[in-house]
Amino acid sequence: MTAWLVVLAGGLGSYLFRISMVVLVGRIGSPARFERASGLVVPSAFAALAAGGVVASCTGAGAPEAIAPLAAVVAAVAAVRRTGSPHAAIVAGMPTLWVLNLAFAG
């Protein structure tokens, strides 16, 4: 019973977060500074999420194994800069990760 209540309370709170600014900004209008800031949310959020994901892949593993995800990111950045396509990151990064993981495992 407690588990159900906790899940529903967490869900209700999360929904209020999701709808909060949609309702507030819709009512009061959005100040210029907020508009400027919102243009920066995407690069900041994506960069932070990516960094967190890479760090999570590096921690827990030994030093040699941490090289594979870092090298995959370097390959991804190089591929995107070269091609101009964001998808090149996955195409270049995943094989780099697999090959290096295999190399370290062997």
């Binding site: 919102s38 243009g39 920066l40 949310v41 932070a48 995107v80």
Partner: protein, 245 residues
């Protein structure tokens, strides 16, 4: 592109608009595919952990449609399993989901003028992947209603995949071969999206600051490092004096 032009020329032409809407919906689902590959294994893992935790498995699955955010769901299931106080569990889940307020603020401008019901549904589906796919399309020039269709179709594809993955994990206990490291698709996808946006000093400083803070604050409790990194990135970008990309 063709679909957008058709939609603009025939303002009120239902057939063409439906056609354009369908194109946008397909594009939205297609844009979501890299995310689906990354989140499906994550959903399976959450399903397995829900089945193994000392809570009703159904309650573990309901974290999907209720909380609808992987890391907050993991925290909820793990803390309930550990016997933490209910208030602590809820507070932790909400702290992890505090970033949704920032996403909500970004989407508010794009969703202005839509019906209350549409916004209620769109907000419910708002989470990292739908935010990423949605904002990418909203920032491109063109028909706004097409962007709405793009967002909603991608977000619904994500929702269905996520809930099915958790259900499969919970019932079958399926395991994705760990050696494939499919979870790394998401960081790489984000790296690609950030690199193509590095087209000005404000964007560069915002991204680099966010990376630095996210790395330094990685082990901060309750995933507050993520919120801190996003806020630090925005502040750094604003401080450079040209916030717009």
């Amino acid at each position: 592109m063709l679909a957008t032009i058709t939609a603009e020329r025939t303002h009120g032409g239902t057939v063409e608009r439906t056609h354009a809407g369908r194109q946008d919906m397909i594009a939205g689902v297609r844009a979501m595919v890299p995310w689906l590959l990354g989140v499906a294994p994550y959903g399976l893992v959450i399903g397995v952990s829900a089945a193994q935790a000392d809570i009703p498995t159904a309650a573990g699955w309901v974290t999907g449609p209720a909380i609808y955010s992987g890391s907050a769901q993991v925290a909820t299931i793990e803390l309930l399993d550990a016997g933490a106080a209910p208030l602590i569990v809820v507070a932790t889940a909400l702290a992890i989901n505090a970033r949704l307020i920032l996403y909500s603020g970004t989407m508010a401008g794009h969703w202005r003028g839509t019906s209350m019901w549409w916004r209620a549904l769109a907000a419910y589906l708002l989470v990292d992947p739908s935010f990423a796919v949605g904002t990418d399309r909203y920032q491109r020039p063109g028909d706004r209603s097409g962007a709405h269709a793009h967002y909603l179709a991608g977000a619904i594809a994500l929702w269905i995949t996520w809930l099915v993955a958790i259900a499969v994990g919970a019932s079958v206990g399926a395991r994705v071969p760990a050696g494939l490291h499919l979870e790394f698709v998401i960081p790489l996808f984000l790296v690609g999206e950030v690199v193509v946006r590095l087209n000005g000093p404000a964007m560069r400083r915002a991204s680099l600051t966010a990376v630095a803070v996210a790395v330094l604050a990685f082990s901060a409790p309750l995933h507050l490092g993520l919120v801190g990194a996003i806020v630090a990135g925005i502040v750094a970008g604003l401080a450079t004096g040209e916030g717009r990309r």
